[in-house]
Symmetry: C2
Subunit: 402 residues, 2 copies
């Protein structure tokens, strides 16, 4: 057929069809790839996962022939329920969990279940772009709340809630990454968590707590989960194995009040989560995961320190400031107000081979924060991190960015 | 918290929220489990898949640290593109494919992209319940077309299209499982495929072709794909590895015109398909899958014959009739018109330990076909199949069903 006579689906699209995502080649990655929050590739437990899978398949591999429970492999849900009870004060059973493809699918299911076009959602002033994209896909009206080094400012949050209510709009929920926040790197203090819960309860606005970095911790102790502090069923809790095992495993989970959980399960796409990956993660998690987490956190801490040292060396006199995260996989760099990290990104990738994500990708309005960038330290070696930051500063200086 | 004071999400649900799916325990399966289309558990290539995975991880396992291409692992897409060109006359590149969680997720993505509440979708008089459920989840107006042993009757299809048009409703697409149809077991003849394409083109109604049983073939040669016969971009093609490797792998794929494919990709939930499973399937498929398909088809053929023999022995004088499929995983049993396979299902499961799915689960209106049932022969051994059919007939006789 010739392209010119091809049938067009344009007139048949649903009113709520998603915006297109370009197929084909993706933009190239930099050698110094600070753009995406990858875990350390060298410490992936590949042999251990293969062994774990082999063991699971020998024991119950015939069950691969069966369509699994729609909530996902029950023994892995039992393991997650125990972990959440022990570590996050979340006392639930395996029935209260749904496993999904990463944390992205559970987040998608909850947004789809709760959000009509124009609905107000509240989140931090800069936050995980994947969730923002899902909020946009369902045509939400996303509003950011000013943060400092301890999380959302309670007064600012209350103002945003009150403004929406004055407009006749009941906010559907507040989305937060309270621990080692993506991209800003801070963790919400206990006081701020308590204030958030108080406002949530006062105004009847539930919270979606994305806790996917809680185990990627280099120092200190975790604050209690918002779920635990609430205790009234107003918190949806989401996390994943992407940062402690590997993103390619596509294994995350969610819990929420049962009525909502059943609605979210109705929105799940593609049946039960991958049994193959769930088998391997279950066998691996029950034995070796805690030690693995300790090991990778030692490695990531060294990488964080390498990036902090390099920033001090190459950006120390630039007027830039940056976060000093106690966990997670990134540093949030603030350039002087006049700098534009968006305009020079492609050029920096081309000339310096350094990748990063500028601030607007994390902004609820999609445009604020052109003088911010997120730098992930998970992927490269400490030596490469030093060299990449050196190249980044040189490229910014060459472009007049700093 | 006490249940009585728990927060309720009821007032916050989206207008288009999915109906709830019950969490917790699922209904028990029968020992003689003819209810679900499972492949043969004993011939799952478990060691081969583990070896394939080990090989892939050794070669490129570090890439598990990376968020994969949103369309899915490129080498597996290349393999699928070659296979479809060679076997189904579908000449595309890897860029034209999206890998998803089984065929269910691609079907979900396409329905979400094309269907507004009340939109007319057309399908066979009895068809795959998973797709019907997704159509209902997006509030489609589903209309069935009368079929015989060669597929949809063209006159009946044209009448259904014309009726919708008279109502001012342009049907969004025609969904068909043309090869070893689920649940009816027939394959659409070449003439019927050509007639379907002609009507699709005449009325501008695209076709969604679900070809997931094409490789589960015991005799004869496959008819050309509807995609190939059309050649105008009006056909969306969906298939999966669930029936030739294992449902637990959750790996399927779709192709469609690029504009539509980009919209569907925007609707994908959970990021790229599981890399872990994609690695294993790719390494396995490139080497051993063709031989495996030959082997499992020999096994399934024996099982089909065992079920046909048992039906002849135990239902031969009951007034029932049944399909004699040349492939696929089930036989469609029609009891006398007054019989009610729905009413006695739970009792039969309890007393005879036999599971089956009654007709209404496959009916577009959800209620027709109470005297039909689908019997899957993939899961049990030939001996068990004989015993199960004997028990089924005895239970039906005890209940006065036949």
């Amino acid at each position: 057929m010739s392209e010119s006579t091809a049938f067009s689906y344009a007139a048949l699209l649903a009113k709520a069809a998603a915006d297109p995502v370009k197929i084909g080649n993706r933009p190239r990655r930099g050698k110094y790839d600070f753009a995406v929050a990858y875990p350390d590739p060298a410490s992936l437990p590949l042999e251990e996962l293969t062994d774990a899978l082999g063991q699971a398949l020998a024991e119950e591999g015939r069950d691969l022939a069966i369509y699994a429970h729609p909530q996902g492999y029950p023994p892995l849900r039992e393991w997650v329920a125990e972990k959440l009870g022990r570590e996050r004060g979340i006392h639930i059973t395996a029935d209260d969990l749904i496993l999904g493809d990463g944390s992205g699918q559970p987040i998608h299911m909850l947004i789809e279940t709760l959000v009509d076009p124009g609905d107000v959602l509240i989140t931090e002033d800069f936050v995980y772009s994947g969730t923002l994209n899902q909020m946009r896909r369902f045509r939400a009206d996303i509003r950011g709340v000013l943060t400092d080094e301890a999380g959302m400012l309670p007064d600012a949050l209350e103002s945003v809630i009150q403004k929406a209510l004055r407009e006749g709009k009941q906010p559907k929920f507040i989305y937060t990454v309270p621990t080692h926040q993506n991209p800003q790197g801070w963790s919400m203090s206990l006081e701020r968590r308590q204030a958030l819960v108080a406002l949530s309860q006062q105004y009847g606005v539930p919270v979606m707590e994305d806790d996917c970095y809680v185990d990627v911790r280099f120092e200190g102790e975790p604050e209690p989960s918002i779920y635990e502090l609430d205790g009234s069923g107003r918190v949806m809790y989401v996390s994943s194995f992407s940062k402690v095992i590997a993103p390619g495993m596509r294994l995350g989970y969610m819990t929420a009040q049962r009525d909502l959980l059943e609605r979210a399960l109705g929105a799940k796409s593609g049946g039960a989560v991958n049994s193959f990956a769930a088998f391997a993660i279950h066998r691996y998690a029950t034995g070796q995961l805690p030690v693995h987490i300790e090991e990778i956190n030692k490695i990531q801490r060294i990488k964080r320190d390498a990036m902090l040292t390099a920033l001090e060396a190459h950006f120390g006199d630039s007027g830039a400031t940056w976060s000093r995260p106690k966990g997670g996989l990134f540093i949030w760099l603030k350039l002087p107000a006049s700098a534009d990290a968006v305009a020079v990104r492609d050029k920096v990738l081309e000339t310096a081979d350094v990748g990063y994500l500028p601030g607007p990708g994390f902004a609820p309005d999609g445009v604020s924060g052109r003088n911010y960038l997120r730098l992930c330290f998970g992927y490269n070696t400490p030596e490469e991190i030093g060299e990449g930051i050196r190249r980044l500063a040189r490229a910014f200086r060459a472009e007049g960015t700093i």
